[in-house]
């Protein structure tokens, strides 16, 4: 912290307001106006802050929390067992699901005996906090660095399983969010969530 700062002030940029009489040079405006022209003109040649969005994208964090994905396991079976913990953990109440029992001939589709027949996330309600991912005991739901795109209708923002479940042939990489440290934390018996 700089030493010449007055006590009680966060910065030393504040100025004391005064109502002293303006000098003649100040009253005829023109010197100040010319100075203003100089300031605006210098900005004319400055580097522009614009990012040409669809072509150029801002760098985002490694662990960016964007659009959700419902993961499959290595054999291509859905991991979700429709336990409802994510919906319970969700502070925005954005997740709804309908559970169903797996038929014997569906063993190649669902890993657990129970699965989510309907799984919907309302992206307009979602606050992208990542608590669903934290709550999931089956490592099924993750947030990804993909961005929820704009749409015309409110109903179009409700993503069902057709959007959320990752395609078998196009796996979505979530290794940046599911690091060993995160996995260990989830399984740590000393943490209250595992007692």
């Amino acid at each position: 912290m700089s030493t010449n700062q007055q006590p009680g002030l966060l910065t030393n940029r504040s100025k004391v307001v005064s109502d002293k009489k303006m000098t003649f040079m100040e009253r005829i405006y023109f010197p100040a106006i010319i100075k203003g022209f100089g300031i605006t003109f210098s900005h004319f040649f400055k580097k522009k802050a614009t990012i040409q969005y669809p072509e150029v994208k801002r760098p985002i964090a490694q662990i960016y929390r964007g659009k959700h994905v419902l993961k499959r396991d290595d054999e291509g079976r859905e991991r979700c067992t429709a336990c409802g913990l994510c919906a319970l953990a969700c502070p925005a109440e954005a997740i709804t699901m309908v559970a169903a029992e797996r038929k014997p001939d569906e063993k190649h589709l669902y890993r657990e005996e129970k699965y989510a027949a309907v799984y919907e996330i309302n992206n307009l309600r979602c606050i992208f906090c990542g608590l669903c991912e934290e709550a999931c005991p089956k490592e099924a739901i993750f947030l990804t660095s993909r961005i929820v795109s704009a749409d015309y209708k409110r109903t179009d923002f409700i993503s069902g399983k057709d959007v959320l479940v990752e395609p078998v042939d196009q796996r979505i990489d979530i290794s940046s969010r599911q690091t060993p440290a995160v996995l260990n934390f989830k399984k740590d018996k000393n943490q209250s969530h595992n007692i």
Partner: protein, 343 residues
Amino acid sequence: MDGNYILYKFALASVILIISLVVAMYATLIERKVAGFFQDRLGPNRAGIYGIFQPLADGLKLFFKEEFMPGSADKFLYILGPSLTMMIALLTSAVIPWGDSLIFNGVEYSLQVADINVGVLYVFAILSIGVYGIMIGGWASNNKYALIGAVRAASQMISYELAMSMAIISIVMMSGTLSLSEIVNQQHGFNWNIWYQPLGFVLFIVCAFAECNRAPFDLPECETELIGGYHTEYSSMKLGFYLFAEYINMFISSAMIATLYFGGYNFPFMDDLGLSHNALTIIGFIVFFIKISFFGFVFMWVRWTLPRFRYDQLMRMGWKNLLPLALVNVVITGLIIMLKNHS
């Protein structure tokens, strides 16, 4: 007066009309570009390369917008307002000398539509009517914001016309003529009026900003207080006419500034180039447009630098500062002319 002459005048008037409209159209794009650059942005750049089709898109949008007329509006005056504004904005271009003359087959074709011997008075007359377009539009809308905006516009334009006229009177006294082409010809080469009338120029340009209702004198529109002022109730192409007229006014004002103070189509060392009369005229025309573009840029530069004046500040400046200064300028000019003639 033969048919050829009428045809040539008609063609010239049409060309100048089209140039005015195209310049005004692209001035909207340039304004947005300049504004963007002043604010560290890029401005419109999606419609075509460098946003070159943006004005077309904007124009198209204005045409397709809903044509809304308030139920309590005076229908005739409501339509008359923007039409009048547009017409008056275009009228002034008739007397501006856009270039010297072109000589084909021994016949001289002047690049000025009407070389009337009271050109300066004509400009003043047209400027004074300009307030009617806004006043009528604001009144016919039957909306209090529009009315306040119109009243502000009227008082502002009438106030600043005085100082403006006084500033030009010094020029008229100096050159001894009211004809614009004569005034330009007297500024041959680098003998521009700005060297003799620096104070007059400052007064004139300040008043020109006020007459065009441009920032920092854009109180009649004043989005923050009056939600658009006199054109609050206008939509579609009627609004387009008001906005468009503003840019045409800007263009014409820049042309007037260049004509009266910066030598019009004259440029330094024009006699030393050894070019033919026609070549000089064409170069002069281009030079004139460079001057106009520069003042157009100054208009934008001022808009994106200075905040809007408060209403009382505006009136105080017009009546208590600019008008006395203009009168002093007239007196000084008169004294110098008298001393010169005496010696």
